[in-house]
Subunit: 337 residues, 2 copies
Amino acid sequence: MTLKQIATELNLSFSTVSKALRDSHEISESTKKLVLAKAKELNYQVNPFASSLRKQKSKTIAVVIPEVVNDFFGPVINGIESIAQEKGYHVLIYLTHEDMKKEVAITKILQNGRVDGVLISISEQTSDAMHLQELEEKEIPLVFFDRVVEHMDSPKVTTDDYNSGANATEHLIENGCKRIAFLSISQSLSISNKRMNGYRSALTKHNLPIDDSLVINFTGNDLTDKELIRQLLKSPARPDGIFASVEKLAIETYEICEELQLKIPADVKVICFSNLKTAGLLSPSMTTITQPAYEIGREAAAILFKLVEKKGHHFLLEKTVINSKLVERNSTRKTDS
Amino acid sequence: MTLKQIATELNLSFSTVSKALRDSHEISESTKKLVLAKAKELNYQVNPFASSLRKQKSKTIAVVIPEVVNDFFGPVINGIESIAQEKGYHVLIYLTHEDMKKEVAITKILQNGRVDGVLISISEQTSDAMHLQELEEKEIPLVFFDRVVEHMDSPKVTTDDYNSGANATEHLIENGCKRIAFLSISQSLSISNKRMNGYRSALTKHNLPIDDSLVINFTGNDLTDKELIRQLLKSPARPDGIFASVEKLAIETYEICEELQLKIPADVKVICFSNLKTAGLLSPSMTTITQPAYEIGREAAAILFKLVEKKGHHFLLEKTVINSKLVERNSTRKTDS
DNA sequence: TTTATCTACTACAACGTTGTAGGCAACAAA
DNA sequence: TTTGTTGCCTACAACGTTGTAGTAGATAAA
């Protein structure tokens, strides 16, 4: 239609116009100029569907994440979008709400060529990866970030979960903690497990016993989760240090501490993985392991575009690790006791 | 291709298959069952581009926002996505980074039929709305949320900015403030202006003078902005109350107060529009006007889908207002002085 | 019997691009 | 003069759907 419009107005074939618009060497400079001028005049825009249908490319990627409501996924999207905008790609966003069924449904939808590639951070619940393997089989490039599926070949961009977990734990130990609890979001999530392994290794390194009752596995249900924290902090063998694998659990810990009149850091010290911008303004300010969220987003997107643009070059099963920073604040301050 | 595959395997014409898949009454139940079974067997998915090209519908909407990195736009996306998922729509996301040039470029891209509708919250910088009017001219439904363009006819979903502004100001006055500063993000943004008008009306209602030196217009540049706050709080005629039109400015105020050793709420009281989940855990906990972000997202999306699905029914220029809540916390607590 | 009305299908032309194959000059090399 | 070789353009068939128009065959009404 529109291509044809330009063509008829200029008395050219629409092949010529199409080529002129894409700056083909088959077209003389003079006609190119003519066409370009006309195109601008008529405010011509290529029809993305016709183009995608013909070229079998969508110039679109999907980002599949559990939620947007925290300070991690926001900057990640930011990073992804910044690269996508540079490359002229479009970004579709899908939320799983930590629900594996939704994740499966979403990946099913993505199998039909709507997108050229997928960036994903899996849900807490995701236990098997059939749906993701199906994507791979359909040759749709897949890049994991943060919450990865360990046994899949696709590239992964994460932070140094194990080391960060160990560092966080050591930080608590150095500041006087003897009984450190680990709050895990999910037993199936590799980030949670890696962080926990770091935690365990730090304990053994410092000759502290590994007490499984101090590893709490959460359900995802806010009420139950809060109750779990409450019980932990009310128990006679209350921990003196809490390492939350995830921001939400630390916030809830703060709230329960207030409720139970426990003082942070005197009664319990708290550290967690978090990108909270206001961590320094909390009462008390919270020691965090801050992930380079924006960079993770950019890096993951960059790798995805590499895959998308050079097919055949599949097997670069990269594992990119971007280090997190431990930001020491008052919630883990050494106290005399 | 794929439609044809099913057709040849079943010895049917591909029209028949197409119709069977879309449950047309022209097709007998028996063949429908046959086709559906085959489709499931072959894991058939309609090609979205072919379909969109043919139907001139994309089943996709765009969300254009300044940033994702705060606790307002996150939940908004959540709300939008929830409705989109229910309706089987896809959500493209574009960030303007508060840059009008980017906003213009993005809306240009959206003119080519890639999306059936657009949800937008304009950037701080956006001074004129030519680019948005162009969208309307191309008959692409547009719904504003939060940061709207007042003089355009498109539906708008906002909170009660004027009243909330007045309430916030009165709250400060009632708690003892006499010199209240208003921190405005942008002079061109209607939300900022409406909130300011609320602020002014509350001042006059309580017989307080309107002092233009207490209305600070920010630039968007973090360093300059902080300096503006610093100067305000260092000035001999320091305000005793601060009403920030936006979360970021309140956080910066907190930081500067710490730097200048000013006590909140004793020296200055602070209130702001914010959806910060940790507002209650800040030191001191921050009084906020909390916007129903999720609901704004859902409502805006719902209106957009109404427009998208019944063309011709354009002129319903709705203005939907969803009330915010003033959550009283310690940053505005009455102090004796 | 003819004509009308169903039911269940098929044929086919769009939708707007893009890439390949082809054509026809003009000029150069043989 | 023939044969290549460019340079610049056109024709046309895809890409995978979908809706309209059309066609049989069967049943019902005249």
